[in-house]
Symmetry: C2
Subunit: 218 residues, 2 copies
């Protein structure tokens, strides 16, 4: 473990937010880190620069420099942190419960977020982007609600914070941005309420990031 970690992040990126929660929420892993903001807006997107493409060839945030290496993809970063920092685990011990956590992560990370991320919406076009995002978030949340109805305790899977919560909360924020009606998803809403005022989940919130525009920051 060499030096302080550096997280390449954009304040409103839900995938960056997932990783920020792991670092900051509950001081979950107690890993000191700095944030390097990467604007997805300025100059056509700093993530498309030659410099950033060397850090992440997918031209996405987050990327994480840690232990002398650069890692990409939020769920892969979760696993690396879990394996190298097994204290304060964010996965249950039980094999099936671990699968339940990962299923929820994967449904969000493969089934919802990729279809409503900024790059895809630019390609879909201004006129259709809201309808498009609502369609896929609604489809995904129907499934997540069903999964949570079987797995949730206080949080997504049982009564301890897991990686599933780190994926769900940012996705609920995105759902609200696209004006998705969340009333059909009472378990999602309950878990979101449970965590929204948690001081450590708040620290990772977009509105508390150094690169959040001043008129939006709280």
């Amino acid at each position: 473990m060499s030096g302080k970690a550096l997280l390449y992040s954009y304040w409103r990126s839900s995938c960056s937010w997932r990783v920020r929660i792991v670092f900051t929420a509950l001081n979950l892993k107690e890993i000191p880190y700095d944030i390097k903001p990467v604007s997805l807006i300025k100059n056509g997107g700093e993530h498309h620069s030659n410099e950033f493409r060397e850090i992440n060839p997918m031209e996405h945030v987050p990327a994480l420099h840690i232990d002398g290496v650069t890692l990409i993809e939020s769920l892969s970063i979760f696993q690396y942190l879990e394996e190298t920092r097994p204290h304060r685990p964010l996965l249950p011990n039980d094999f099936v419960k671990r699968a339940r956590v990962r299923e929820i992560c994967d449904v969000i990370a493969s089934g919802i977020q990729p279809l409503q991320n900024l790059q895809v919406l630019i390609f879909v076009g201004e006129e259709k982007k809201n309808e498009w995002a609502q369609h896929w978030i609604t489809k995904g949340f129907r499934a997540v609600e069903k999964l949570l109805s079987a797995s949730a305790g206080k949080y997504c899977v049982g009564d301890e914070v897991t990686y599933a919560d780190c994926c769900l909360i940012p996705q609920v924020f995105n759902a609200r941005r696209f004006h998705v009606d969340l009333r059909p998803y009472p378990t999602i809403l309950r878990v979101d309420r449970e965590l929204e005022n948690h001081p450590c989940f708040r620290a990772a919130h977009p509105s508390n990031q150094p690169d959040c525009p001043q008129e939006i920051a709280k």
Copy 2:
């Protein structure tokens, strides 16, 4: 471990194929299983039936019934099999190499496949679907090629088959279906060639599935 596993699968689904490779390729995990075909075409798609929605609320294949529980999401299934059947590992021991495997899996499973899967292409429309699929596969393969240029040995990460190979090979098949020019990706093509005639990877191939239409099957 109770009884034989049952894999809900569609012959041409790349996500089903990933899991079939784990079961069959190299007899990687030596887990006896049966296949239950779920047609994504017949009757508007059997994955949209009420019966299948109880198995997987995302209405995707694959789903896996094993050890008395039903699991969904191919990457989550990989992790469950790795944790419960650690013999013949499909992840390296080294933490950073494990991250490299998972990054490649995640780039494909979150950054490419979701944008060219059948349900999304139906929504995109017949007229634009080829251009759409080519765009996202090309963008993703540029990143995968860059990742492989640093990680690949004989296979995606080093000289042993890993989950990254189980994700890559089906995605290359999809790229060919959409007539993506693969010449700019020499490392992807090399790994694909390395595995295409491997008898066990062949067993998992769409053309060797019980539900593959006879005019396509080899």
